[in-house]
């Protein structure tokens, strides 16, 4: 387990609302999910938003809260990966060559109430950021926000989040549409809500994982070399502007202590991942 975590501060000029920023080193799935849950619980008391960026120390399959563990057999290439059940909904994600963000907003934040508003706000900010970071890359692809769900029956919903399509998902789509052109999902998010507080976390797919070779990332499609470090440098500011908050440094000691207990009691317990 990776703990304690160091944090890094980035300040913005906007003082309208203070938001804690946590940039965590790569950790295992149990720890990553426990910190997100701890942030949600803590925010119900502190009413302070948090933005967190993190990575995964080894390829890990995270299951959506309502998914069945046995369904992971549907994706054979990730069977050797560690598995953790999220507290949020949606489909399974193979976390490997990517960057994950989480945002926790108190009930009073104007974007906390409506599910789609928060998806849309965060994803549009990330699209803008990616377009800036990749502006020098000549490409025949463009970032687009998915406008409607894929026309599939619930029972036929793909196992993996990145094979599903929901409104607000961020897609890479060819600029020149042809009859057989495909788009690829490169960012998907999910939420957990409790007493008005919302946790939204999402995965930005940078490179294809050997454990999910059917899912190309941004760099595979654009032939670019965008690194997590480059995104970490500029994403907090982009999201802070979108959410109308200013970022500040906080050791978050109490949160990490709570997370350690949550990880031990829930996410490291195999019965949690296998509860469905």
């Amino acid at each position: 387990m990776v703990e304690p975590i160091t944090t890094q501060a980035i300040e913005t000029d906007d003082q309208s609302s203070v938001c804690r920023l946590l940039i965590d080193p790569p950790a295992d799935g149990a720890w990553n999910m426990a910190v997100d849950e701890a942030l949600l619980i803590e925010t119900a008391q502190t009413e302070t938003p948090t933005l967190r960026l993190y990575q995964w120390q080894s390829p890990t399959l995270s299951l959506g809260y309502f998914q069945r563990h046995e369904d992971r057999i549907q994706h054979s290439s990730s069977l050797a990966a560690e598995v953790v059940r999220r507290w949020s909904g949606g489909g399974a994600i193979l976390h490997d060559r990517e960057l994950t963000y989480s945002i926790v907003l108190p009930a009073a934040h104007p974007f906390a109430r409506d599910t789609q508003t928060l998806y849309r706000t965060v994803h549009q900010a990330i699209i803008g950021l990616l377009e800036r970071l990749l502006s020098s890359v000549a490409t025949e692809w463009q970032f687009k926000s998915c406008v409607q769900s894929a026309p599939v029956e619930q029972t036929a919903e793909p196992f993996l989040c990145f094979q599903r399509r929901s409104p607000g998902d961020v897609l890479l789509r060819p600029t020149k549409q042809s009859g057989n052109s495909l788009d690829y999902k490169i960012l998907g998010s999910a939420q957990r809500r409790r007493r008005g507080v919302v946790l939204q976390h999402g995965s930005l797919l940078l490179n294809r994982s050997l454990m999910a070779p059917d899912l190309p990332g941004i760099n595979d499609l654009l032939q670019s070399s965008l690194s997590p470090a480059e995104i970490i440098e500029s994403m907090p500011q982009a999201l802070a502007i979108a959410l109308g908050v200013s970022l500040h440094q906080d050791a978050a000691t109490a949160c990490y202590e709570r997370a350690a207990a949550i990880a031990a009691n829930r996410y490291r317990d195999s019965s949690w991942s296998r509860r469905r």
């Binding site: 959506g64 909904g89 599910t115 929901s166 939420q191 957990r192 809500r193 409790r194 007493r195």
Partner: protein
């Protein structure tokens, strides 16, 4: 059931209390306002029959548009029945939220929580804010 005759929790659950064999039984569901706000429900995790529940504590979970939300028990007591047709017919929550969309029946053990519930007019006012 007539929504104007029901009681409501601030967290959008409705309650109908009836006497049965000398005990008070609360039938619980979620309001039409809540169903509309949740949109596109895909999963529900019902409470278990026999489960003890506390007022204002989570006792059921739903997923919509990749967001998992809690449903809170408006009363304290023991779950004596659940609407086990709901998981395969979630549209019922939207089409008949105050009737066949009921979630659970709870044998009330402590009536103190009932005093915190809102009447229809007060709940409507809350929803309008």
């Amino acid at each position: 059931m007539n929504p104007e005759e029901l009681s409501y929790a601030k967290t959008h659950e409705w309650v109908a209390v009836a006497e049965q064999d000398g005990a008070k039984i609360a039938t619980v569901g979620i309001s039409a306002f809540a169903v509309e706000a949740l949109t596109d429900l895909v999963y529900i995790d019902l409470p278990k029959v026999g489960q003890q529940v506390e007022a204002e504590q989570p006792f059921c979970e739903v997923e919509s548009v990749k967001a998992v939300s809690d449903i809170y028990s408006p009363v304290a007591g023991r779950v004596i029945a659940v609407n086990d047709t709901l998981p395969d017919a979630l549209e019922t929550l939207g089409s008949d939220p105050y009737g066949s969309g009921w979630i659970a029946k709870i044998k009330i053990s402590d009536e103190a929580g009932l005093a915190n519930l809102l009447d229809y007019a007060a709940y409507q006012k809350q929803c309008a804010e």
